[in-house]
Symmetry: C2
Subunit: 340 residues, 2 copies
């Protein structure tokens, strides 16, 4: 019997369907408790799965769900509600809504994934705005959860508090952090510092049951000072993309420095391996995708440029969220903290 | 005759007055056209400047301005207006206001520096909110100017437009960029994406005389796609501090990777020099301090942890701003673009 029933939007992402199918294959091979529903043009998918790699053994844990349409990069997210009702991303969400699958994985069109998750799967009671959570690396053994990183913008203080609750439960369940500390992203650690929204959010969190520890600053995303940092999706999105940019600039600069002269080139040969393993730690493809918290099911949203490894890891993320029953626990947490 | 008359708040920063005085000494030695007014407890400063390093030759280009008080890290910025009227940071600003100096350099208490610059030196006509501009490194020969990074928060669309004008003039004058391209920080490059404030700001800039090129994303701070990126001070501040955190994490991680085994350690010895020169490029101490644009004089605000090198470079930044008459040019630019 399969424990994890996951719908995969095979047609999403820059390298679909090759990368998604390869990722699916790798995931099925790695985890015998996984059952995948491949969503997309069924004839095409069945054809692709005729290759030798797809053994009959693996295929026993595969279903197909037909979807005739694909959401395009340029499409407005709302297109899946009317014009593209039969798009793979929406059909995947429908499977979760109907209970045929426990979770979905999609890559590529973040906006459409958000709409599918929020409006088709549906929000949890007490959650006005679902939040995309991003585990950020630091030098500790557990990451800092940055929530929210792009599902919504112009958040009100109550939304930030809800992000705090959902982020805490995520940190607790997935990373085993006991009573996670929570901070609100501000411009200084002093209590009086902040925008109208963050000041009010801090006030609300101070009198909540959260383990609230005050204002966080930009640098705290990377030093492990807080287990959870809440912010508006605009801030989180800018921060995440900026960090990608910083890492890229540093990586290139280091690469250049390493090949600047003969001795340096020799040196770089000797240190290539440990360096590579370090950069792997910072690679988003290792996480695969980010969970959208606050909906009635599991939804992992991956990067458009996901390769097979990222797809496989996104499936693993979905399995973990299902394993720890994130949606049920978040619903309980919200109910316990009081509706916001 | 001295060309550049700069007031230095000797008492600001974590390592004052030693680091500030050493920085002052180094700057005076390097640039014969510099005249410094050292602001702080006069007896103490005169005593410190009795050491051999302060030759009578250098001292000819030094004045002293007495200030009996120091703004403390914990003080509210507004303290300089009433309780601490005789603080070094306020006295320095007063010298600029009265025309005795062309610019000031302060380190440490950013909030107090902002109040001193804005309320004592005074805002330019047509500028509602001055903006702190930060040149960000990329792989091009000229940086991207991120404005604003912490002088104010909860900006309205008109403020962002004003940041765009001031940032453009700064990019043009200091970095020689012809008709700088301007972007507004958003969550995606598509025109429809953004917060209420950024969407309205984009609309205003599109119909302005600025060389506006649409939405910027977090990663564009580091890839040179825009010459100027405008954002609210909250975003800019979080982004800047986050980047500091990312760089620190990467640096430590790389250091660790480099010493993980004997071969790697040998390799790291060979590449130390080029690596070090690369990290220097990203070091904020190289810039020394950031200019607050939109006031009736030059004000460079440095990091609290500035060492002598950072102080010297902050003085150099002030000299450049004076050389290119930034305040006058910004006033003209604002007038030309229409009051906002």
């Amino acid at each position: 019997m399969s424990e994890y029933r996951i719908a995969l939007d095979v047609m999403g992402g820059d390298f679909a369907p090759e990368a998604t199918l390869q990722g699916a294959l790798d995931a099925l091979s790695a985890w015998p408790e996984l059952h995948l529903t491949l969503v997309g043009p069924e004839a095409l998918l069945r054809e692709k799965c005729k290759s030798k790699a797809w053994t009959s053994d693996l295929k026993q844990r595969v279903s197909f769900a037909h979807a005739s349409m694909i959401v395009d990069f340029n499409d407005h997210p709302m297109v899946i509600l009317k014009e593209k009702k039969d798009s793979s991303i929406r059909v995947a969400a429908q499977l979760v809504r109907e209970g045929a699958c426990d979770g979905m994985v999609s890559l590529g069109h973040t906006g459409a994934a958000m709409v599918a998750s929020t409006l088709v799967i549906g929000k949890l009671e007490g959650v006005d705005r679902p939040g995309l959570a991003s585990p950020m690396p630091n030098t500790k053994s557990t990451p800092t959860i940055l929530i929210e990183v792009g599902a919504s913008i112009d958040s009100r203080p109550e939304h930030l508090v809800c992000f705090g609750i959902m982020g805490s439960i995520y940190a607790e369940q997935i990373f085993g952090i006991n009573r996670p500390t929570v901070g609100v992203m501000s411009i200084g650690e002093e209590e009086m510092k902040g925008t109208e929204v963050t000041l009010k959010a801090a006030e609300l969190m101070r009198s909540s049951k959260l383990n609230f520890k005050g204002n966080a600053e930009g640098r705290d995303v990377w030093n492990g000072k807080f287990d959870v940092i809440v912010c508006d999706g605009y801030i989180g999105n800018v921060l995440l993309k900026s960090a990608e940019g910083t890492a890229k600039l540093l990586k290139n600069g280091i690469k250049e420095a390493l090949t600047s002269n003969l001795l340096a080139r020799l040196g770089s040969l000797l240190i290539m391996k440990p360096l590579r393993s370090f950069f792997k730690k910072l690679d988003y493809k290792e996480f695969g995708g980010l969970p959208l918290l606050g909906i009635q099911g599991v939804s992992i949203i991956g990067h458009g440029s996901s390769d097979a490894r990222a797809v496989k890891n996104a499936i693993r993320a979905a399995m973990e969220n299902i394993k720890y029953e994130l949606p049920r626990r978040i619903a309980e947490g919200i109910a316990k903290m009081g509706s916001l």
